[in-house]
């Protein structure tokens, strides 16, 4: 299912729209399992948009998960990080483990220095105090002190992964805000962005009306009269 990259306009749009809006659009397109439930922002940045580079971890075992192995050249965790470029998000299949971290401030700073857009982990990160001050988006289940090899062994990267029981293919578009993270299949990103931008405007207008005292009925979803008001309002904003 080779597809071309989403346009720059798509990415710019997705950086503005809510994940609530995006999941609604994906749901209407028949995609019901795109939200990575259970993650929360771990740094000062709670907004991420980028293309997935994936990292796959399996359970650790004493004969294989040694410090020698995980620091040797070609260890997938390190290769994946050093491959990251602008606009890319590292997505880690961490199997939901909360007793060890996938990495901490050194690895995450390296990603930031390389220009990556963010990091999404179905598991934990460490150096929480340090991360809290970083202007680099990191989503994880929680924090944990132990090193990754206490529970994980990285065995591959840029393969399909499961993250919070959601499929993430390399190249899919990840979007995160304060509600959490959603994965948009790459071939749908342009379509979703176009719809979502419009819906986000509409919902902003609806919220304004509700604040002003309008009842739900007729306003949300909008009937013809509200639609007309919206169209006028929309024109006024370009």
């Amino acid at each position: 299912m080779a597809t071309t990259a989403p346009t720059a306009a798509t990415l710019a749009t997705l950086a503005r729209v809510a994940t609530a809006t995006i999941t609604t659009q994906l749901f209407k397109l028949g995609l019901r399992n795109t939200y990575l439930a259970g993650l929360r922002p771990m740094s000062a940045a709670s907004r991420v948009v980028g293309e997935a580079v994936t990292l796959r971890c399996v359970p650790s075992r004493e004969d294989l998960a040694t410090f020698e192995r995980i620091t040797a050249p070609g260890y997938p965790q390190r290769s994946a990080i050093e491959s990251l470029g602008p606009g890319q998000v590292l997505v880690v299949e961490g199997r939901g483990i909360t007793e060890a971290a996938i990495g901490g401030d050194i690895y995450l700073t390296r990603m930031q220095v390389r220009g990556a857009a963010g990091c999404v982990v179905d598991g934990c990160v460490r150096d929480t105090g340090s991360l809290a001050a970083m202007d680099f988006p990191v989503y994880a289940r929680s924090s944990a002190s132990p090193p990754h090899l206490a529970r994980h062994l990285a065995v591959d990267w840029n393969v399909p992964v499961g993250c919070c029981e959601v499929l993430v293919m390399p190249g899919d578009i990840l979007v995160g805000d304060a509600d959490g993270v959603v994965c948009i299949p790459r071939h749908l990103a342009d379509e979703v962005a176009a719809w979502a931008a419009e819906l986000d405007h509409l919902e902003a207008f609806v919220l304004e009306r509700i604040r002003a005292g309008a009842a739900l009925s007729g306003t949300y979803p909008p009937d013809a009269a509200t639609r007309a008001l919206y169209d006028a309002w929309r024109v006024g904003r370009g």
Copy 2:
């Protein structure tokens, strides 16, 4: 078990006392399962007192959970919201689901505009960023992006519901603070409020004594000497 409404004085008292105190009193009355474990404040307001209006949701199914159905007049979620008045709290049987939201800022703003006292959800809400700034109490398990019909179908309102495996009857009194939310059976609200107010004062006095260096023994629970000191202290405060 028809009962009259709690008095205004009761509600005013419950707005001041701690849920820790209330659950202790309910426990002494033989009610051991009144605390809605697992919820946390999702907005800027972390204090709620009000009368339960309930909403019941069941698992979603593709042939029934359509956008047409959930936006049609009479859909229970919308009816319940539009029924809310001052001093009422919407309590949603959300079955603990963390992969979809019961609603977001539009619905919650409508509740606020109608004068409702708050919203308690055994599940998730969305538009977290927007909620964080709202001065309207919302308790939920967490946030999630997907629309409610991804996992829920509302089928009834103002029926008995289970919320965090606690029974909530329509008209019961919900109280929430930073420790969480407790449900007081309507017929016990006056009795609980009277006791709780007194106990809260006593605990404030005890804390003052402990801070001043008193040992637990004799102070907490208070013996006769401490009781006498408390009575004097209490008089001084009216």
Copy 3:
């Protein structure tokens, strides 16, 4: 396995090093299960170091868990608290229960007044609003309103306990930071502190290098060249 107390220097060092570093050292020493997963700081203090005094709780039962019993002299919860002295941490085997609290601001203030170093609970605490302002380290799973006897009965203290499925022996050294809490077996504290202090310095240096644009390879872990740079940097800091 009687051991002498860790030195004052060890405790001072452990107050500075990261739990991430400590768990890594314990892992290298063959201790793979020392991190108390699932806890988070509940007060304004998120840094704790001290010697474990343990408290053991079992499930509550109506014929035994009465207010008379839990307030009588010699109730283990009260005895343990009143035994605490400077540099000690109360560690509570709370079986992960999230529907009741082990204690609240009165008990925690008493610990603070006695000079204790902190409190670690595999369960919940209450009076969350009050705790949030306390400058006394408290780690727990979450907050809950109900009193401890709703789910717990304290039956012993200063016996080996399981906390978050980690063994804590009386006298073990607990260290907590924003990543969570780790238990260092008493007889290993001096050794771990010595190693950890050195590793913490090295990681600070590595982070500085990574921020400056160094690749992971050769920097983390450091090769001979980086080691030499580090040694020079280290000299400059004493």
Copy 4:
């Protein structure tokens, strides 16, 4: 969504086809959440087909869940049981609770005597030893000794319910075999039965071929050649 009852032929067919086949057909029709995961047969009968009569339970509370209430006329649990007729299955929203039973041999025997087709419980039953010998289909999560009011209060019947996080509407068709239980929306039962009967035959033929040494490729799913063989085989069986 009023629909006519499935035909007698449909019910007869569904009594023969596998739930594996039925869930596959429902999946092809766009219904992805129809399997009641987590249940197992508790009696000597592991095959059930019938129309749902539902019973809704909420969490118990000491002031309401008394023996007087649950044995009074009109208590929904009793009304639902006494309403059951031939071809009906009682489906109980038991919220997955494993610490109390919804009922035991007395209630289940009453259902059997009334000619009901079976009972499906998202929770537990009791009198396991006695049930094991009954020729009446009962599916549950497990067995438990305590009476239902220890955790449950029945509050309504023949309303939509959630069972194992699957929606069951009154009148839907439940089918169970050794793999578990599936809920077929009433309006789809005829369509599903027609497809499923055919698929079940095909799979029996395929299994025969695989046993005889055929490779998966070309056999499952069948290519044109295998289809032709199947058509011939099918003719021979009527």
Copy 5:
């Protein structure tokens, strides 16, 4: 709460009545948490009655859980087993762990040889194939291959323990049947047995009536007419 032992008649009665009946009686006495949810019979015997001897295990740690330690004289697991006499049941606080066994056929055979009444484990046992043929009651969550020290360290015996989140005091009476295991506080055993025997007879009679076609109403619970029939029936059985 020192109490005399239950009478021999009590134990004989409890060996006949259902745990369903016992939990109902305990519930009426105000004891709501006495059922050890999650256990199942692992041997050929599914009926146990006896007095609790308890064993307490905490999480294992590499520096303490060595084969030397667990095989040395005085290791609590071995002391507890060698203390068992006729009519006693070993109850193990296994913290619900399913990745290691508390023991296998050697330990369980030793208990049997000593005349013990059975073994109840909140965790796993091993040598499942061998156990299945043993005529000695063993209740556990499941089976697991690894040795106990992979996850457990025994640290004490005949202290209060939590088993399946139920309190078991040394000397309490454990009763198990196919529905599971219940713990009767020692001081209530005579009272519970007397009531339960009568209720068991009544339920046997009721079941007979229901089988014969009686409706629930008037039969269960019995009204005066049914009671009279029961009294007559009862007389006929002695």
Copy 6:
């Protein structure tokens, strides 16, 4: 870590020894996480020994998990099955999912026809009734009706996988009995088999002694006297 295959003698030995013995030996070799907790035999055969061929599944997604894709040549699930030869065990990374099956009697019969040694699934299988009669070892969490593509998409085979949070490398040796399944790293199989065979004999002797009334002390573990008796007993058996 290329290693030669275990010898035929090793495999023959492992077919006789208990998984309890094997996990104990692996534990002594420093491998603490080798037991696949949570699985149970689903067929008439509860004894398996063979070399792992692995299959990796990720979460399903509506745009990719189509019937066309999963039946096309080269779909990894089908390729893996058609690659199986004598002495091989298919090990499926099923992420513990209990709402869909990895496969049923057609796929499992194909494995059997190809001479495979068995199948181990961290998830479910279907056609339970049919499997129960098969003389082919199948271990899984449970049974479930829905087709695999309802929750799974197979994406690779013969890569390292996690199964019940245990690492399984292609070529590792899986052994299963009534206690469950253990994974022996390929390079340790000969060593483990040699030790395990000896230990199994010793434990059989010990059990004989315990049955005859010997106390645990001196017998288990054996002291010098018991060792001498064992040596004599052992000689008598060859």
